[in-house]
Symmetry: C2
Subunit: 443 residues, 2 copies
């Protein structure tokens, strides 16, 4: 007999768990299906473990910054101990998440979900049926289709490495490549980042990306730009990477050339749901081509960055939509960032887009390196581009490159969303001296 | 001949400089008088140098937190190098501030200002006169009036110490005592904090103060509570401190028992301006008993904490008031904090006050130590008390104890001032994972 639910959620990551919890709390009968680890990418093999590893890099950097300026001695990274610290967090995620779901009364099922011709959903040898389905299966790392692609490892492997190899190469200069390169470099590896053109991190301000690369280069990372990798071969000396006019031998090669939607094993063709390389196609109510099937989070093809807090936002929207249908989804400004060394963060309108309308927008380009907030801890680099709407006097966008860019970008996101002008900001008292004390100088 | 100005500002610190700049920009003729260092306490001998010294402590702590969890080796503090780093900032403040004022066309005069019987102001052998005067002379450390008080040094001395003595004692458990104790302790000194009763940092949540003291005690600081110091004596072994049932020998003894207004040398009695130990008495337009004399910043007796950003806020108010008189001053919520290890920060309504009205307020007491944001860097302690107004669902107060309390308290200040409910917060997307990602779990 087929079990019947109000909603079946496919995918037990941040998006799926959030919507399952939200719908269960609204009195719906909910089944959630996960094919791999409960908790999904972010806590198991994404943002969280990455940032645990980065914690050691940040602490090392902080000590490095003040050498000869107040501190003597820089800690070294003990990779196995750092990995144990990471596992101290990640090891509990699967069971903890599963128990949390069950504790809420949500039915859970482990296995690969597959839509059948009759519209029902098979999970292993079980078949379930629901009024509505929500697909939240996320993405997985893309493997570059080249000769020797079987030698590629992924960010998932990197984030669980028992030992740091002597030579590590990332193929693809997106945020994953930059972040993991910064970690591997700090851990002592000889690190290369190979990128097919001269514009890695293409969604970020080009000048500040150049500044970031300059700092990472000074720290020992090699960027091989305009390098179109063609083959990987195992040799006695390691893995040999070849491209036109390029050769490099490495011990570990990570495919960091983007991520692809986990949409190809769901039998979507049986239920009329379409997808492309950006994800499952949805309308502005997150509804797929099949009106009873929705897609949220990284697996959906939406006009916004694929990030954990966006998944949560979409889940909250869809809980509302499946209980009290209303308006189309609208998104707030969404900060994006590269947790490299230093950090690069961006929100809202870019300087490039602002430059097209000089009458409408003013762009403040600020070198903050010698400002108190950065001088105090010996920062090497602190840059900002802030976009102000001339008519309203409000911040509408910013790109920041500094060790505290992650803190600043969140303040700026709040100022943008709350439409705060300089005069209004000055009606507030923020703690001094803190990075927030500088906000008034960014306008 | 007496020089005549629209406004004479007495005191070239943050308050005085801000009002002088603001009035000059409004077309007023402005003279500013400083008796000591241009720039005042905050950049020369207050918040800024303190936080430069703290930078080394923070970096050392960050490394310490991850020992055996990913890092090997903890940097040691090289006090002379750290002091040189501090002086690299503070040495330029006096001249830089003076030039900045002059560049704006503000007339500057160096010397002690003293009101004369005829209402004019003498500065050395010059006499000046103005339509309005603004007193912004700040505060100085109070010296406890006990036997041997001549042996007391102050925070000013501590922040410019060439060498860190082996034994350092702070008398007075306010924020100055706690902050400098944390620095001296990290720099290797044997540190005591003597406090006359059992409630140091009395403006802060009592439980979290206890937690802070427990951590600082574990780090090596000794708190001598209920100790009413009576005498300091020079002996062969150092400075001997005595109180009933208490004796301690130390090398450096800092009076950190509060600060007193710089109001006693201004000849205020000649112009009818009154003051007490809290400062110059002002009405809700920052006007003293003499309607043409105003007082702002730390020297004024207002109902708010004496902090640099408050001085700036009052200066902006008074610029407005002296050009276009309007309403009485009102203050936003003002975050206060102790930059100790870890940091203690507070804003808005306290848990104690909230407890008086349980129907109106909900108090969330949260141990965040094992939360991802703190686990990741090996934090030892992260506590929060957050006060929610039941009817509106808005945050109205918070006390935080953690290594990132300074970041969190600024977000909370923004949420309080912008009246943000949980539902509204969840309409925002903030960068993940960052301390800001936790805001939604504080409601």
């Amino acid at each position: 007999m087929t079990e019947q639910y109000d909603v079946v959620v496919i995918g037990g990551g941040p998006a799926g768990n959030a919507i399952a919890s939200g719908l269960q709390a609204q009195g719906k009968s909910v089944l959630i299906v996960e094919a791999d680890l409960w908790g999904g990418t972010c806590p198991n093999r994404g943002c969280d473990p990455k940032k645990i590893l980065l914690s050691a890099v940040e602490a090392q950097q902080a000590a490095q910054h003040l050498q000869h300026q107040g501190l003597t001695g820089t800690p070294t990274i003990d990779w196995p101990a750092l990995m144990a610290h990471k596992r101290g967090y990640t090891d509990g995620i699967n069971d903890g998440t599963l128990k949390g779901l069950q504790h809420q009364g949500i039915t859970t099922l482990h296995g690969q979900a597959h839509f059948q011709n009759d519209g029902q959903l098979a999970v292993g040898d079980q078949v379930v049926s629901a009024t509505d389905y929500v697909i939240a299966t996320g993405q997985r790392p893309a493997i570059l289709p080249i000769t020797g692609q079987e030698y590629f490892k992924t960010s998932t492997d990197f984030l669980d490495l028992d030992e740091m190899p002597k030579r590590v190469t990332f193929v693809g200069g997106g945020y994953v490549g930059f972040e993991l390169a910064a970690i591997a470099n700090a851990a002592g590896a000889d690190v290369h980042v190979i990128h097919h053109n001269d514009r890695p991190l293409k969604a970020f301000d080009a000048d500040l990306v150049q500044d970031l690369m300059a700092t990472m280069t000074a720290d020992g990372v090699t960027f091989d730009l305009n390098t179109d990798l063609q083959a990987i071969e195992q040799t006695d000396d390691g893995l040999q990477l070849t491209a036109p006019d390029f050769e490099l031998t490495t011990d570990l090669v990570i495919s960091s050339a983007g991520r692809i939607p986990n949409a190809d094993q769901l039998g979507l063709e049986n239920v009329g749901v379409t997808f492309n390389r950006h994800g499952i196609q949805v309308n502005d109510r997150l509804q797929t081509a099949n009106p009873h099937i929705y897609a949220i989070g990284d697996v959906s093809d939406t006009p916004v960055p694929k990030l954990t807090p966006v998944a949560g936002y979409e889940a909250r929207y869809l809980v509302q939509q499946l209980t009290q249908p209303g308006a189309a989804i609208t998104y707030p400004v969404i900060p994006t960032q590269v947790f490299a060394v230093p950090k690069l963060a961006q929100v809202g309108l870019s300087a490039t887009d602002a430059a097209d309308q000089p009458d409408k927008y003013r762009v403040n380009t600020l070198d903050m390196t010698k400002w108190f907030s950065y001088y105090r801890f010996g920062a090497r680099q602190a840059q900002a581009r802030v976009i102000i709407d001339q008519a309203s006097g409000q911040v509408v966008g910013a790109t920041l490159l500094s060790d505290v860019a992650d803190e600043m970008i969140n303040y700026l996101t709040l100022l943008i969303e709350k439409h705060v002008t300089l005069a209004q900001l000055q009606q507030l008292v923020l703690a001094y001296p803190t990075p927030a004390s500088d906000l008034q100088y960014l306008y």
